[in-house]
């Protein structure tokens, strides 16, 4: 980011802190799919006392953390193709069964990365649409059309400061009206029938800081703003 940041934004959340915040909202007993990249971090921050079961679309329910280097099994990987482990109670299945879980609405939650999220919940996270891009979609479209609750974890803006929360996506859609909540380095924003609603800011970040970096109208529905 080249622009001079106001002091408040120096304190914006790290990736780990965003992940930690997102993890707070996952109910005990949930079945969850975490998107490749930043959302994978969420698994490390599930609050103590809650048991969640992670699904990875390449055929494993009950995914555990990364193995120690000497325990790596190249035939036990996640959707991001990185080595993982299997927790007690895990099960393996083939790809059609795995996406029956996804499409059939059996997962409670997925948290995905995003290039853009629109005020109506449209998500773009698979293609820049550029002519020279290599098309690749993976399981993103299946997840957003099948999982009961779809949330996004992302930086609030791109590296050059362009808002990722927008009025209308400019990139090709992954799914229409699918996202219900967005966790960023600045805030937690809900997608409502009336557009983006700020429900929480990072410590030291103001409504105006967030609104200025959001590419669509933002309502303040924080408890504090309503009192």
């Amino acid at each position: 980011m080249n622009e001079q940041l106001p002091a408040s934004l120096q304190a914006r959340l790290t990736r780990e802190q965003i992940a930690e915040r997102a993890a707070q909202d996952i109910a005990d007993g949930s079945y969850v799919n975490l998107g490749i990249g930043m959302p994978e971090l969420i698994a490390q921050f599930v609050p103590e006392g809650r048991e969640i079961v992670l699904h990875t679309e390449n055929g494993l329910l009950g995914m555990g953390p990364a193995p120690t280097p000497d325990a790596v099994d190249v035939e036990l990987i996640n959707a991001g193709k990185k080595p993982v482990t299997a927790n007690p109670g895990a099960s393996y299945f083939h790809h059609a069964d795995s996406f029956a879980i996804v499409r059939g609405g059996h997962l409670d939650l997925c948290v995905l990365g995003a290039m853009e999220v629109a005020a109506n919940g449209d998500l773009a996270n698979w293609s820049t649409g550029r002519d020279d891009a290599i098309p690749a979609v993976g399981g993103a479209m299946d997840l957003v059309s099948g999982v009961r609750t779809v949330r996004v974890m992302t930086t609030h803006c791109t590296r050059d400061g362009t808002p990722k929360l927008v009025e209308k996506c400019s990139y090709p859609l992954t799914g229409a009206e699918v996202v219900s909540r967005i966790y960023t380095d600045l805030a937690v924003v809900d997608v409502t029938p009336d557009g983006f609603a700020l429900i929480e800011t990072a410590p030291g970040v103001s409504f105006d800081d967030v609104a200025a970096r959001t590419g669509a109208p933002l309502r303040d529905v924080r408890e504090s703003s309503l009192t």
Partner: protein, 236 residues
Amino acid sequence: MIDKRAASAAAAVAAVDDGATVMIGGFGEAGSPIELVHALIDQGASELTVISNNAGNGQVGLAALIRCGRVAKIIGSYPRSSNSTVFTDFYRAGRIELELVPQGTLAERIRAGGAGIPAFYTPTGAATELADGKEQREFHGRPHLLEHALTADWALIKARAADWHGNLLYSKTARNFGPIMAMAAETTVVQASSVDAPGALDPETIVTPGIFVDRVVHVPDPAQEFELVAHGAHYP
């Protein structure tokens, strides 16, 4: 912590509403979740739509549920058998409705319900009277029927072994409709002969992943419908 164990069969089916759609596992007498169905009889829900390949045998299980007047409609492939006099009597008396579905179409419709596929095309039944009223379409020069997914409020199924997460193993041909019914119901209740802590079952051999299961009832020594029928048992 994830622990889907229910205190009893009665507790597991306590919330079944009148008018609910209930899938009941089993093929012939193999895989019938007798204890769960008897708990459902005790519970009293009525006007049920039951999805089950057969229509019960003798005077126990699904046959007893019908005899008690709780079943408004059956969706199945083969309600007629030498032991299914209860269904036959109710059907002839116009006291139960039947939707007859070829067995493979029944299975695929249930799987589709669990897999988020609202409808599919199949060659089965084309050019027969079971095609009446169904959309037809040609693929590869052959007529096919459009068939719609089946889902249910409840599935009652039987497993050989379970863990607290609801992971399941079955026994031989008693597997039949259990795995797909577990996928297709809003609430899936399993009776299992053994119920262990997670980790007890080999993740490579689990047939039904726990995500499809909501409640696990430990029935260590389940009655076999085959033997109940052979002995002329009645329920209640």
